[in-house]
Amino acid sequence: MSELSTTSRPILEMRHISKRFDATQALDDVSLTLYPGEVHALIGENGAGKSTLIKIMTGVHQPDSGVILLDGAPVRIHNSQEAQTLGIAAIYQEPMVFPDLNVAENIFISHRNRGAFVNWGKLHRDAEAILAQLDVRLDVRMPARGLTLAAQQAVEIARAISLNVRVLIMDEPTASLSAHEVNQLFRIIESLRSKGVAILFIGHRMEEVFRVADRITVLRDGRVISSRLRAAPEELDAQRELMIREMVGREVSEFFAKSAVPRGKLLMSVRNLGKEGVFSGVTFDIYEGEVLGFAGLIGARRTDVGLALFGIEPADQGEILFEGRPVQIKSPDHALKLGIAYVTEDRRGLGLTLPMSIASNITLPSLRRYLSALGLVRRKEEQRTAESYRERLMIRTPSVNLEVAKLSGGNQQKVMLSKWLNTQPRLLILDEPTRGIDVRAKAEVHHIISDLAAQGLGIILISSDLPEVLAMSDRVLVMREGRQMGVFSRDEATQERVIMAAMGQELSSNGQVQSSLTTQAVEL
């Protein structure tokens, strides 16, 4: 594939693009070339300039200097409609579909040459033909509301194809997909490649990037640091490590290991916890200073256990002993009183009040402590708390009064952590604490978790990132479809063991474990 691309002519060239926003130089002399049939991956930390580059390619922003060449001729792209006319389209993490329209309508909604009247029969046939080109099977009469995220993405890609897209930008398309769905997406990418579409793939998961890309470009602080063709399989690991170093600009291991902490008192015992039709038979002990990892595939119901322990969706079977006393956790309020806090995986939807300031977000669940005698919030006290967390958790922001919406994913995650730490919990449940945040922020969150355990907190770490769970946990509890498959100590918990438990017996018996290992390692 790579030989092919070097000989063919580029479709899109970005030459010496620079863009400045107020004080920040978002892009500094960036050049990037996209060839037909080539998957070009763009990697970099949050804030490296990836989004700005995409926005320039799709006409949302105009570059301060530099030129864009399409088929060798300079073009100016003023808005997303113009980009579309030129054959440049983008799909994002959250698919942009119309839930109330059916699949076929979603595909053809922006077409201008289909006439004023809708010919429903033809519309459905054309949609089927386009999906067939992508080897995707989907009922075109289904409203998009009922589709999985992966299917919605497929619909978006079909829309782009129907518009004769030549450059397709995929901005973290895998962030919300299960491993199986990622494979489906990669197969669609394969068929796009064979059609000669140039693909710009932005990703955070290195394994995926190095699996799908023909060429990888590293962006850091608005500059291109390196751009290489993907190495041969035997050199891939070395190349990956090198490029991760280039991304961060300093040596970091991708995964930080939790430091050993002497196990403290027994904090909580859970026996045969269950919820009708959701999960059952969950049994574990957690001690002070311990990190208990929850591993499993998508649909293993790990989050549901977290929600039950925090009283959002209370369990209806089994018992919980908190510091030796039997308790029934019926509401989050109750859980907070016991000293349990839950940091959700849904940062934007459930975790944070985006238009409010960092300080207001942090004090929200513990606001009672900040009330004066008159029942008014003591703003100074609130600021002091926020400042202390900003320092402690290294939240990068010009001010604690900034809207949370303006922060990067990693910093939002830290605000969410501060918010729940400020309730002074004994047991902290972290649900996917590093999803969608960049490598450096991820390492920092790992440091924080380790520190908290050292201070004597019990921590339940729910994570789909298997290397993370293994590196951070003292013990690993594995779930599969609502059932507990086992608890492994740190020494016992190898990738193979955990994956076999998470996938159950039927997969491990026919020798598929080995192959799934490589594809599922990240998503598991």
Binding site: S80, I109, R112, G115, R137, D139, M142, G146, A154
Partner: protein
């Protein structure tokens, strides 16, 4: 059964239920009120529903885009009064010119709403609440608190309401009702079979996606408000024809009635779901209850508004509880029967069955 479930989507089931409800109510009132199933009852209800039905169609277009038009009551009043005054001053104005004038005035007022909402990015509820008051005040100023009287109007207009377009047996289809029917059918075709109409659903369904989808969403929202105003203008003319006497409070409360008709008729207040035909059924249902309760229990004018409010609440409640379940069940059923879940095939392009 499966075929039935596949053929009728949740929205259509809702419309069937509404028709059933209308028939059941007619049956119920016929046992309570003497001579209820008389053709005259139909005539009474059909002429009274004409105004609200026309406004409700425009309201539906706006709500589909996840907006709302609260100014329609004042637009109806304003156009009714303005055209009435002009006709009173000059009895020889040609009828078609008068209708066009009413529609044009309404469209202009709707256009102002549209500019502010679509291009000024002010929330529709604020804009149209403001223009509801402003248009009404303009009317009061313009009229000098005088009324239009039936006696000043030309004969053709006064004779318009009882004018029969055609009859089905003893049932008369009055011209004013026919106008409403034509509006409903025309816009039903627009939203079902025309690209512009389908895109209206897209806007309400996901405004963010519509903004980047590459069709002129902003202009379409503007046009939806313009059409809502134009239809309110047309309704203003029908209002004038029907009542003859127009005071400064003419058309007050039609904004509530039109929203109620749309919502009861299955138009989702969050946009993307519903149809003009549904809104028409909603208007019909509300009018039947309204009309018949007055004859049956002789309830007071004040209770009618409370009743309207109650029906809006009921409709929204059933929408969130029942309709969501229906929709989910339908999707689930679709998934099972057509293996609609995404499956990417390896190898050749074997096609879906």
């Amino acid at each position: 059964m499966n075929e039935l479930r596949r053929r009728f989507q949740p929205e259509q089931i809702r419309e069937l239920v509404l028709i059933g409800l209308i028939l059941a109510l007619a049956l119920f009132f016929s046992t309570q009120i003497e001579n209820y199933l008389h053709p005259r009852t139909f005539t009474r209800i059909s002429t009274s529903v004409a105004v609200v039905a026309i406004v409700a169609v425009g309201q539906t277009l706006v709500i589909l885009t996840r907006n709302i038009d609260l100014s329609v009551g004042s637009i109806v009043g304003f156009t009714a009064y303005a055209t009435g005054t002009m006709l009173a001053a000059n009895n020889d104005l040609p009828p078609l010119a008068v209708v066009l004038m009413a529609v044009g005035m309404g469209a202009a007022m709707g256009a102002l709403n549209g500019v502010l909402v679509a291009y000024g990015r002010v929330p529709a509820i604020i804009v149209t609440l403001g223009t509801l008051a402003i248009y009404r005040t303009l009317l009061v100023e313009f009229s000098g608190a005088k009324s239009v009287l039936t006696s000043e109007l030309p004969r053709w207009l006064v004779n318009l309401p009882p004018l029969n377009a055609f009859s089905i047996g003893a049932v008369e289809i009055r011209l004013l009702f026919l106008i409403a029917l034509i509006v409903v059918i025309a816009f039903q075709i627009l939203v079902t079979y025309m690209t512009w109409g389908r895109r209206l659903y897209a806007i309400g369904s996901n405004p963010e996606a519509a903004r980047v989808a590459g069709f002129p969403a902003q202009r379409m929202v503007f046009t939806a408000f313009l059409l809502s105003g134009a239809l309110a203008g047309l309704a203003g003319f029908v209002f004038l024809a029907r009542f003859g006497n127009i005071t400064v409070v003419a058309g007050q409360g039609i904004e509530l009635k039109s929203v109620a008709a749309a919502v009861v008729g299955g138009v989702n207040i969050n946009g993307g779901i519903g149809s003009p035909f549904g809104a028409f059924l909603g208007a019909l249902l509300i009018d039947i209850i309204d009309n018949s309760l007055i004859r049956w229990l002789a309830i007071s004018e004040f209770w009618r508004n409370a009743l309207l409010g109650l029906m809006i609440l009921l409709a929204v409640a059933t929408d969130t509880v029942v309709m969501n379940r229906l929709r989910k069940a339908w999707v689930r059923h679709e998934l099972q029967t057509s293996s609609a879940s995404l499956s990417v095939e390896q190898g050749g392009a074997r096609h879906a069955t």
